[in-house]
Amino acid sequence: MFSEYDVIVVGAGHAGCEAAAAAANMGSKTLLITMNMQTIGQMSCNPAMGGIAKGQIVREIDALGGYSGIISDKSAIQFRMLNRSKGPAMWSPRTQNDRIRFAEEWRLALEQTTNLDFWQEMVSSLIVEENVIKGVRTQMGIEIRAKAVVLTNGTFLNGIIHIGEKQFGGGRVGEKAATGLTEQLLGFGFEAGRMKTGTPPRIDGRSLNYALMEEQFGDEQPGKFSFLEESPILTKQRSCHITYTNASVHDILKTGFEKSPMFSGRIQGIGPRYCPSIEDKVVRFEERERHQIFVEPEGWNTVEVYVNGFSTSLPEDVQYRALAKIPGFEKAKMFRPGYAIEYDYFPPTQLKQTLETKIIKNLFFAGQINGTTGYEEAGAQGLMAGINAHLNVKELPEFVLGRADAYIGVLIDDLINKGTEEPYRMFTSRAEYRILLRQDNADLRLTPMGYKIGLASEERMEKVKKKQAAMDEIKKFYSTQTAAIDELNALLEAYQSSLIQQRTKIDFILARPDISIEAMRKYIPALDQFHQKHSAEEIESAEILLKYSGYIDRERELVDKMNRLEGIKIHPNFDFGNVNSLSSEAREKLKKIRPTSLGQASRISGISPSDISVLLVYLGR
């Protein structure tokens, strides 16, 4: 019934969809297997994409030729650039999305992708011959052969849902869990663990009193994720609302603690410290009188709202009574309660930098199966796994991003070297070179790489070349042109900046923190004329480079310094067991992870600087 595929992707969430699209677009004959074709591209948790660090990842996925950016733009109901008041490294795009449109756009995009087939069924086991993946076996006993398999099982592997004292198997509320795969993988020698995540109740928006909440609008001039023209810019937007919990909310929550699956120990999995449930917050931050709640609309037309900040697995009646004490929620009606879900994951230290498993050749893991949380983190891994599955099948060199290349590089490097004890979420602070990994330059950083491996389109590459040329032109103009004293002083006066005495190069003025290109254009007609031909994106990127060059240069210096360790390669056959001077913990870790460079070794948890010095001595002299 099936001929052999190049790549099979198991699971059609954010990771699976990106993996399937990437492999197919690069030319692999690809099959996407999902338990339910109606739930492709689900937003299982909040109806939003991006945010701090995550928005940068969506831009990176887009720059490489992935779909998440375009899908998010097409289904957006609100756009905000977070942290505009901070430095450019912190600017983070975020959209609120129409949950149903988002899934629909994913399905449409995948259906239009050539080389991609679909099959709806549960995969019950893998076909492995001599530690090489050969395909999958489905619940109905169908064998489908493939040269590579990408597993993106999300929260479905032995998923158990908890609400108060009730518990039942499932991968999401109303959907079956997947069984059998974990057990088979354990048999191959994989280690597995349990993780936990949660989601808040969904509420009937008609029952809320928004007058008691603070309205949060989208940006007046909304941007978007994708660097391509294909996705639209929003012309109308929906607002979110902000409200707060209070002492009486907390008191009611406390009455449910003895029935809480978290506190009673029924949940064994480790939850995300960074995205704690409301009961967790009440216990851990006892001194705080209130916690912030974001009320997020689920779409353009639906009345359903998502209560961000109120993730919980307390009994449904406790959830209901506590919610009613929140200003604006007095008469709230619940569509469904929040719940916690426990699922299997495989510690990602069992993976190579390509996300291929070390134990089984051509088997790749991506998404929550690796212990991460978040759509963006999942999408990024899916993309990289899909790319490398294709490259492996075609026997082409692997594609790996470094920590100074992309957040995606930071993400995967962290996962495979440090592993994770709790659901891993991206933060800007995880990146050493934050100022280099900005949302505005994701295309400059990554599109040439995506183009080279055959994923990013010609159109993308042309846009990048044009942007680069425009930026070079702008930089040159600013560093050579002067402006008349009276023009500049009118500007400086308006912005209460100190005046100048003589004709001054305009980049000098732009370096002042309170002066922007936009402001300068208003006062210097020649400058305004010069910028007519440039797009907003080109001007933004050039402005960042001009204004923050000192910081960018300093960060680059540090990259160069650190890269010297990256440049010291460790031979694949190097026997760490022979280096008696290493601590025994370091020896074990190094033998397990098998780092390919000294830089990578230095990031493995449990490897101390003195271990690195020892290796330096061994390798270097």
């Binding site: 600087p609 001595v617 002299r621």
Partner: protein, 451 residues
């Protein structure tokens, strides 16, 4: 560097004839490879840290009667099995013993190899290893103390402690940045300012101590300046107690800067005699005068000497005008034995001596020591003697300066963090919490063989 699993040996005492000479052997096979040469005992059975007297023989030929110190792993300098052979200190015997050890399959050590093994076996951290290198070349007791202090880890500990505090604070700022959407504030800015001040204070002191540290390591340069025939050469001889400079009554005899050293209170003073300050008519001497001005600029302390009986107030003022402004100057009035107290009032703050008789020379010496300590930290405190540390500390100061001015101008904290991270990086390289190939290269290249 050679295979770290070899057993190595080197002569550990300086070249030349001495009462005893020591050969150090270290490595996994140290005991079984040395034992055949020392039939008196079974070294595998003797306890660690014991001494054994007996003949050292090679193929039944007696080489010497020696004392063997046995250290068993991991309780030795290198952390490996070690034997130290104390024999009679003739170069011939030492060489002969080395040859026999090599014949046993022991490899001659490379420079720094013992210390590198100590480092590899976790006996020393990098800054301690660095201190060992300094210790070996230390010539005075103060240099010895400074290096010993660093070897015990005092310096690295201090930086490590400050770095940890800054790191903790940075984590709070980072947390704040990553949770900017939620109404949280973790990092209290006045605390950061206070912490920066504390670090700046410590780093500044360490930088200042480099002056003293450098003095301790390389000696302090003291330049004798003054008009021709003020008695500079005589004073130098008095200080050094030997006829070194050319002493003559003809003004301008000293044409070259003469250098000699004197160790006082453990500190090496390098005295530099100069040609006189004078507008020379004779061109040969004018070369000497150019050199004098160059020397003055390099001096740490200038001793300005004048003939108390002949120098006028105007001449004194004009000479002072030619001195570098930022230097410590000690004004010394010479020839006080011939002074006519009736006509010449005593100048306040000037030191009166008679170089020819040695009068008040001891007072001058103690003044020199006193002036040296004025800007330096006393006693047991940490002293920076290493130029690598000095440069790193300067870069830390620069980063802290950037952070402070950034905070002052309301810079966003993500940009502040760039400089904080730089400071952390530099501090980490000093304390050994960040390793880099540069440091290793620096340290192990400084060694001599036998350490």
């Amino acid at each position: 560097m050679g295979n770290p699993n070899d057993t190595i040996a080197a002569i550990a005492t300086p070249n030349g004839v001495g009462a005893i000479g020591i050969i150090r052997v270290s490595g996994p096979e140290a005991l079984p490879l040395v034992n055949p040469l020392f039939p008196a005992k079974d070294l595998s059975k003797v306890p660690s840290h014991t001494l054994h007297f007996g003949p050292l023989k090679y193929q039944d030929v007696l080489l010497d009667e020696v004392l063997l110190s046995v250290f068993k792993a991991p309780h030795s300098y290198t952390g490996e099995h070690s034997v130290e052979i104390s024999c009679h200190g003739s170069p011939y015997i030492l060489q002969k013993v080395m040859e026999c050890l090599i014949a046993q399959g022991i490899r001659p050590a490379e420079a720094g190899e013992f210390t590198m093994r100590a480092f590899l076996n976790g006996k020393l951290d990098l800054s301690q290893a660095e201190a060992v290198a300094d210790l070996i070349v230390s010539e005075t007791s103060a240099a010895h103390q400074a290096a010993l202090h660093q070897m015990r880890g005092g310096f690295a500990n201090k930086i490590r402690d400050l770095r940890t505090q800054l790191l903790n604070f940075t984590s709070l700022i980072e947390l704040e940045l990553d949770f900017a959407e939620e109404d949280v504030e973790f990092a209290h800015r006045p605390h950061l300012v206070a912490l920066l001040e504390e670090i700046a204070g410590e780093v500044q002191q360490l930088i200042a101590s480099f002056r003293l540290g450098n003095v301790i390591k390389s000696g302090v340069k003291i330049v004798l300046a003054g008009r021709p025939n003020a008695g500079k050469s005589t004073l130098l001889n008095a200080l050094l107690n030997e006829e070194r400079a050319i002493v003559s009554p003809i003004a301008g005899t000293t044409r070259d800067a003469i250098e000699d050293t004197l160790i006082m209170e453990g500190i090496r003073f390098r005295f530099i005699d100069t040609a006189g300050i004078r507008d020379a008519e004779d061109s040969l001497e004018s070369i000497g005068i150019a050199r004098t001005h160059e020397k003055l600029r390099e001096a740490q302390i200038i001793v300005y000497l004048y003939d108390v009986n002949t120098l006028t107030e105007e001449e004194l003022l004009s000479d002072m005008a030619t001195m570098p402004q930022d230097k410590e100057i000690i004004l010394v009035a010479n020839k006080m034995d011939a002074i006519n107290t009736a006509t010449l009032p005593k100048r306040e703050g000037h030191l009166y001596i008679a170089a020819k008789n040695g009068d008040n020379i001891e007072l001058l010496k103690s003044t020199l020591i006193q002036r040296l300590h004025l800007n330096a930290r006393p006693g047991d405190d940490t002293i920076i003697t290493n130029i690598r540390h000095f440069h790193a500390l300067q870069r830390i100061m620069e980063a802290i300066h950037n952070i402070k001015s950034g905070m002052h101008s309301g810079l966003s904290s993500d940009l502040l963090v760039i400089d904080i991270r730089r400071a952390l990086h530099e501090m980490g390289e000093i304390s050994g919490e960040i390793s880099s190939d540069e440091i290793l290269g620096n340290i192990f290249s400084k060694f001599c063989i036998g350490k």
